[in-house]
């Protein structure tokens, strides 16, 4: 292909990266040019983040060459990457929890200099305003929700004034509104001559903001759509093409399922999960006067901007955070004084959104992580003794059923890709008898096929008579699955609305504080 104009900022030639038992990137050729938003797509574990880590200097390729501005130059370290002008928002947070956002933003400046906290804070606020998010630069990172941290990382990356910006699933934690703003910004940056690499699992975003698409599959680049092609294709056709490249079939994720059918009247007699005037004292967003009922078979969506107390709510119900007043009933019995384990024994499940922090033990095998909440239970343990065969069989079964991509079930779970770790969590929580399940952002980080599968499983869970609480920042997901939707704002329930034609508008009003009901 004859090259017109300046050479690409980064050219990958036959770049290969191997990990024990897996070729994460297999001889990848790719060009990343100034002025383009280059969308990188691929299912979970396809090797996208691995590619990112090589571009940002965290990993070195085992084979192949990297050219910078047409000249071969290894990206030997993150410092080199930054020097070249490559700035990255990683899939998993790269902020120091014990520092404030401002301090995090000043990391990397000369040692002897005094941190310019005020100046940096002003710059951060300005940049945040530009992309339309609000953040408190003086906030201690550890007190922020994952979503807020992600916003801060985007702001920090943009502040560096890079000519090459990498966003690895940067919209995963954003509301559609904020994601759209970020998209607009990407377009603007591209028009100013910045190269953007954007990784997402949301095909609509890919098609809308991307100039060029590359698709990875099992570590190999299986195809792409060039800018001219993409422009000429139209959204519908482009999505279908991407799906074909990614999954080998084009009828995937076609059209979200309609709203769930209304519950039969008899289901509404006795609630499974009931919150009665629940209060919880938490440092930033205390819960106050939370009341709702969830019936058998019902899915109650919890919508709201990230960081409005959703996590506190989930933890209070699961027993991980203390309740200061009010009661929680499961199948009529009060459970608010019970331990986490006792609540679980009664059939309460909590799928956490913090998959690395508390969801899994990174150094333990996939097989053990799948049983983390059932240690000691037969048939995997008999009289307290491990039954390796049973544990393995269970893992192999889950691996198949949930399509967990791992070299082996003995691989430490921390070595899997983000999406595959999420599948391990889901596989663990969605089996066995359940009475009530709390899903906290269950599909974040999952690829299209897995999102569809997961949503089907959430529906199934409800269909088997369990009460489901679905916390999500994705309104579409909530509208697709929920019978009723509660909107959370500042630690309160701003209102609960049935999922009817007017739901989307009313949720929007509730979220923006326009109305209260």
């Amino acid at each position: 292909m004859p090259v017109a104009g300046p050479p690409p900022i980064v050219t990958l030639q036959g770049v290969t990266k191997r990990y024990p038992g897996i070729v994460a990137n297999d001889s990848i050729d790719m060009e990343i040019r100034a002025g383009e938003v280059h969308v990188l797509l691929g299912e979970n574990g396809a090797g996208k983040s691995t590619l990112v880590s090589m571009l940002s200097g965290l990993q070195q390729p085992d084979a192949g060459r990297i050219l910078i501005d047409g000249i071969e130059r290894p990206i030997a370290s993150p410092a080199v990457a930054l020097e070249i002008g490559i700035s990255t928002v990683f899939q998993h947070s790269m902020l120091v929890p014990s520092l404030t956002l401002v301090e995090n933003a000043t990391l990397g400046r000369p040692w002897w200099r005094r941190p310019d906290r005020a100046g940096t804070a002003a710059a951060m606020a300005a940049m945040a305003g530009r992309i339309g998010v609000s953040l408190d630069p003086a906030a201690l990172t550890s007190t922020l929700s994952l979503g807020e941290r992600q916003q801060a990382e985007i702001v920090r990356a943009l502040m560096r004034g890079a000519r090459f910006l990498i966003l690895d699933e940067a919209t995963a934690m954003l509301t559609p509104h904020d994601a759209a703003r970020l998209g607009a910004l990407m377009r603007r940056l591209a028009s100013e001559g910045v190269a953007v690499v954007f990784i997402t699992h949301k095909l609509n975003e890919a098609v809308e903001y991307g100039d060029r698409v590359s698709v990875l599959r099992l570590g190999r680049k299986v195809g792409g759509i060039a800018p001219e092609q993409l422009r000429s294709m139209g959204a519908e056709a482009a999505t279908a093409e991407v799906v074909r490249l990614m999954f080998g079939t084009s009828d995937m994720g076609a059209g979200a399922a309609a709203r769930p059918a209304p519950l039969p009247a008899e289901a509404l007699h006795t609630p499974v999960l009931e919150l009665l005037a629940l209060y919880a004292e938490a440092a930033a967003v205390p819960l106050s006067n939370i009341e709702f009922k969830v019936h058998p078979g019902e899915i109650l969506g919890i919508a709201g901007i990230d960081g409005n107390g959703q996590k506190q709510l989930a933890e209070a119900i699961a027993g991980q955070a203390p309740v200061s007043d009010g009661r929680i009933r499961l199948d009529g019995a009060y459970i608010d004084r019970l331990s986490i384990g006792a609540r679980r024994d009664l059939g309460l499940r909590y799928v956490t959104d913090d998959r690395l922090g508390e969801g899994t033990v990174g150094g333990f095998s996939v097989a053990l992580n799948l049983l983390l909440k059932e240690i000691g239970a037969p048939p995997y343990w008999e009289h307290g003794l491990e039954r390796p065969a049973a544990i393995r069989a269970n893992a192999e079964e889950k691996r198949r059923a949930f399509d967990i991509r791992t070299p082996s079930v003995e691989t430490p779970v921390g070595k899997l890709s983000g999406g595959n770790i999420q599948k391990v969590l889901l596989a663990r929580e969605l089996t066995g008898t359940t009475r009530a399940v709390i899903f906290n952002k269950p599909t974040y980080g999952l690829d299209l096929a897995n999102i569809a599968a997961t949503r089907a499983r959430i529906r199934e869970t409800a269909a088997r008579g369990a009460a489901v609480l679905l916390i999500s920042t994705e309104l579409d997901e909530i509208l697709e699955l929920s019978h009723c939707i509660a909107v959370m704002d500042q630690g309160r329930i701003a209102g609960i609305v049935p999922n009817d034609d007017a739901a989307r508008r009313r949720i929007g009003e509730l979220m923006s504080g326009v109305s209260r009901e």
Binding site: P20, I340, G357, G362, L372, I375, G384, L385, E386
Partner: protein, 361 residues
Amino acid sequence: MSETTSDIGDSRAAPSVLRREIWGVLAMSLGPVLAAFVLSGLILLLMQVNPFSYYGYVFGRGLFSPTGVQATLTRMGPLLLLAASLIVAFRAGIWNLGGDAQFLMGAVFAAAWTPLMVPHVPVWVALLAGMAVSAGFGALWGLVPAFLRAYQGLNEIITTLMMNFLGLSLASVLVKLVFLDPATTVPQTRTLAVEDRLPTLGATTISSGLLIGLVAVLAVHFVMTRTAFGLRLRVVGANAGAAVHAGLAVPALTVAVFAISAGFAGLSGGVAILGQYGNVRADWNPAYAMSVVPLVFLARFNGFAAIGFVALFSILSIGSESAARRMGVPNYFTLVTVAILLIVLGLAEYWGARQRQKAGA
């Protein structure tokens, strides 16, 4: 300080791989020992001492002489119990660095009460009771940091180190003021008669503490790697947040870990007294636990490897005292040898891990 142990998934290897592994393990364990001796041999040369004769004496005494090897095996007993103590704690992510005081508490109370019991009950009852007492008081001393960690979130490295200093003082206060043998001028407890001590193995002088220690390490290894209880502890150790999320009773498990760990340390003291020493003198502190800590880390909390390292350490400590005397080298040289050995073993571990990674890639 989370230590991700690699044998968690315990690979069930194929036979040929196994053979290669055994060779690897042999090379990995003997290689560094040789390298360490070459290095310390160079220092000996600087001191104008013949390294071959020196190490000849070390192994001649520590491993190949009949009384020497018996001394080595006897020395291993209490050390193995301490290894068991540390394996439990470290696998559960609890950095119990107070083993020496727990050891002494066990030793002092066993030494104080067993001789008093002997006249009234059959000897074996007194010995069993003495061991129970030592484990109990070791555990008791471990409970202070346990509760502080479990219910106040206090870091146990600080508290166990402090309890160590306090325990050393308390032990000597107890010996001097409370459990003093009225028959001597030297502040020490009553002495358990030689014939009332734990039986030796057959016609040797090897204390049966060795067997107790071996059983303890193997049992601990089994429990930690093959049982639900052990797995729970490992989850707490690897990621306390995940343990809470999984509904484990973290505070209770923490207390249990401390009790077991400190109990083994106390038992180690008891076995040392009941099997070898017969009494405790004021200000006595062999500081065995601090020597076992690096060995257990090198063994990566694996019981079998710990037995190997404890054996090596015992051979070295028994043998080098003899070698130092015969060669006219100050005994301090042993400290240098042990330091070099630990570093070289650490390097070998690093090298092995890199090889494994390369092989996997």
